[in-house]
């Protein structure tokens, strides 16, 4: 039993680590795909060489993030079989098909057209070449549709029937998988999130570059324009994220009430009718004792949860975690008696949710101010160096938000791997040893540190060299490889 716990913990740790790391680069590369596509489209329309330079320069960062995103995604394709073989057997009929379709429909398109895009700048007319980056970007967005359809099934299983003979869930309606309510809040939410990630990355990197440019440098215009394009895309992303996020949280009340209650820090059920103001208060700060699952401290703002969760100033009820625990014990006690409790990690969910909400609000304000300071006639953004610093540091905020979103989604599903159907503890591979998992965890961790580190370092080098580095190098006749080939031939 002790070793079994070890396997489960290690497998969960590996899943969390690999998906979080993968999900740093996925939104980054999908979003950068959009940014680069927009830049190259502007080049095609306006025929201004600067936009071509922009697409190529940010394209380098895009290619780096794409490479890391692809290779970390490989793990995802195989770790279900490696670490979660019981899960794979139980839902492979459904989950596996979505994964296979993702590869067939999206991965081929992405990988083929990114190759065409990066190798044919001088081979195709601009109007054709731009199609390659758009197909790559759309392909990667479509890949997220299929993998999120798979994740949505885990969150809200639909279109299946249990086959007792094979001992598994089987697909009965493919259409139902694609019409899953969860998918159509999750997928748009992730896609707009990619725009936020890339928007603030490009804006922030541009800000850091502007800090280092001398007055009158020709690159200033390049990076100021980059900021504008990126932040407009980023703002569209945030607006979308707020709308879809609100919808998502709203739906959770019926689909996964425990997740919702934890996100809002509600332990005891709130009935608006019992309260003096007839409205539900919203906790700004809340601390839950992880052993008793009771809220021990909180700061409340009246009315706000009625507005968020009920979409009106007053009214609405929120079922608390204590009552839900009782309900679930009753509902699943007979079929899943071995599940000890249905509580989720309340504090993590509560604050992860606030990181998302507060982060998005903050970024929105930052974008508005930045666009105003960066307007054509003003030099304000160049003189206010402190503001460029803020914009630069805020590169990291969307990454924190993305991770927080994953944590809420996946930890909030606890104790289920497939909600209401299969507990996490039943899903793990029974035949994998603690040693195997321990070794793979350590090596994955070190690998991520290496490739993540090199990627960031290369991105910084690219920024430091600037968009005109190749022209400058050609002017000074310093082909970095020339001396080497001469030397070896001599």
């Amino acid at each position: 039993m002790v070793t079994l716990v070890g396997i489960l913990d290690l497998a969960r740790f590996q899943f969390a680590m690999t998906t979080i790391f993968h999900f740093f680069f996925v939104p980054m590369s999908i979003g950068l795909g959009v940014v680069v596509s927009v830049m190259e489209t502007l080049y095609v329309i306006k025929k201004d060489e600067m936009y071509k330079k922009m697409a190529q320069f940010w394209g380098k960062i895009f290619l780096l993030s794409f490479a890391v995103g692809v290779v970390t995604g490989l793990i995802q394709e195989f770790q279900f079989g490696m670490n979660w073989s019981a899960y794979s057997r139980y839902v492979g009929d459904i989950f596996g098909s979505l994964l296979a379709i993702e590869a067939l429909v999206a991965f081929f398109a992405e990988s083929t057209f990114i190759g065409l895009w990066s190798f044919t700048w001088d081979r195709f007319k601009p109007g054709v070449h731009v199609l390659f980056i758009w197909i790559t970007t759309i392909g990667s967005a479509i890949s997220s549709l299929w993998i999120l359809a798979a994740n949505s099934f885990m969150q809200n299983p639909v279109g299946y029937a249990i086959d007792n003979h094979m001992g598994r869930a089987q697909l009965v309606s493919f259409g139902a998988l694609l019409k899953n309510k969860q998918l159509w809040v999750q997928f748009p939410h992730v896609v707009v999130g990619t725009l936020v990630t890339a928007g603030f990355l490009v804006a922030g990197m541009s800000a850091f570059k502007l800090l280092n440019l001398k007055k009158g440098d020709s690159q200033i215009l390049f990076f100021r324009k980059s900021i504008n394009i990126a932040l407009i895309i980023g703002m569209i992303g945030i607006a979308g994220a707020l709308v879809t996020g609100d919808r998502h949280a709203f739906d959770l009340q019926s689909m996964q009430p425990m997740k919702y209650a934890a996100m809002e820090g509600v332990d005891e059920t709130i009935k608006s009718s019992d309260r003096k103001d007839k409205a539900q208060p919203w906790s700004l700060i809340s601390v839950t004792n992880p052993d008793t699952h009771k809220v021990i401290a909180k700061i409340e703002i009246p009315y706000v949860l009625s507005i968020l969760g009920h979409h009106s100033l007053t009214g609405g009820d929120t079922v608390g975690t204590t009552e839900l625990e009782k309900q679930f014990q009753k509902k699943y006690g007979k079929t899943h008696g071995d599940i000890k409790n249905y509580y989720v990690p309340e504090n993590t969910l509560f604050y992860a949710f606030r990181v998302m909400a507060v982060g998005a609000g903050g970024l929105l304000m930052l974008a508005v101010v930045a666009l105003w300071m960066n307007r054509k006639k003003s030099q304000l953004i160049l003189t206010q160096r402190w503001f460029l610093w803020i914009l630069g540091i805020c590169i990291y905020v969307p990454f924190a938000i993305n991770t927080a979103g994953w944590l809420v989604t996946e930890l909030g599903r606890y104790p289920w791997v497939v909600y209401g159907l299969m507990p996490i503890s039943d899903a793990v591979s029974p035949n994998v040893s603690v040693a195997s998992l321990l070794i793979s965890n350590i090596i994955y961790f070190l690998t991520f540190a290496v490739i993540g580190g090199v990627m960031v370092w290369l991105a910084r080098r690219t920024l430091h060299a600037g968009p005109y580095a190749e022209e400058e190098a050609q002017l000074s006749q310093s082909d970095p490889y020339s001396h080497l080939s001469e030397g070896s031939e001599a």
Partner: protein
Amino acid sequence: MSTLEIVWFVLIGILWAGFFFLEGFDFGIGMQFVLNARDQKDRDALYQAIGPNWDANEVWLVTAGGAMFAAFPFWYASLFSGFYLMLFIVLLSLIYRGVSFEFREQMPTIQGTQLWERLIALTSFLVPFFLGMIFTAMVSGTPIDAQGNLSAGFFDYVTPFTLVGGVAVSLMSYVHGLNYTRLRIDGPLRKRAMTQLKYLYPILLAGEALFAVLLFFYTDFIQTKTILILILLLTLVLTTVIGWVLAVKKQQEIVPFILSGLALIEVVVLLFAGLFPRVMVANNPLHTLKIVTTSSSAYTLKVMTIVVLIALPITLGYQIWSFWVFRKRIVSHKVVE
């Protein structure tokens, strides 16, 4: 066994075959970063030759894995959890290999570039080697229990048969890559590829003969399907001999390249033909995993078949078009030639 189950067994074989044909020469090119290239121009030319296509070629592997998950989830679960550490090394190699192509391109110093290039060469050897080991172990009998769980120990997958299998797949990929170099690159790389092929073809033939002998001792293929397997083995040897003659004696390029790819495909065909109607061979015949007991529901297979019928022609279309776009030969040392 339903028709669709057989269709999907064949389709998975096709996906693996496509992967080994396409990524086979990518691996071969990758190994040449150390084994054939002499200077940076050589290595740049090698990268140019596969740069636009290697990623899409690798998707064949991802799709093959995904298709196994979709069509035979019990096979996917048993195979990948059972050969955990070997698959882990494959994944790790693919990770480093994948980023190395991009990192080498963007490194500011030559030393940095060369570091990633050495990694490309190493991982390009490791992936086919361990895939070869996994496939040969899968057909030669492993300790699968009644629940279909496999806990393969070191001596289950490290046998003379699997070692020869691993080396053979790597060597075949390398030969395939040398043929690709002759097809795509002009310059000193091409000449040296020819020289190497002269020595490698006989070694490969000897390896294939050894593989055939070990196949007799480690699997039941020859015993149970004598004629079919012997024909397939003979075809494999003939393919290699014809490739050898055409490449080395007749100095042809296209046909030997196709033949070295075909040889890889024939190995996949051999293994899948020998397996049928099983998917994984257990030491205890009662626990052997079969197509019927591992497959998905009829409905899922039907849906997946429709998806494949729509998506595969389109996918093949643009992938072939992409190869057509990059058909021009790469000239590595303009002055030298």
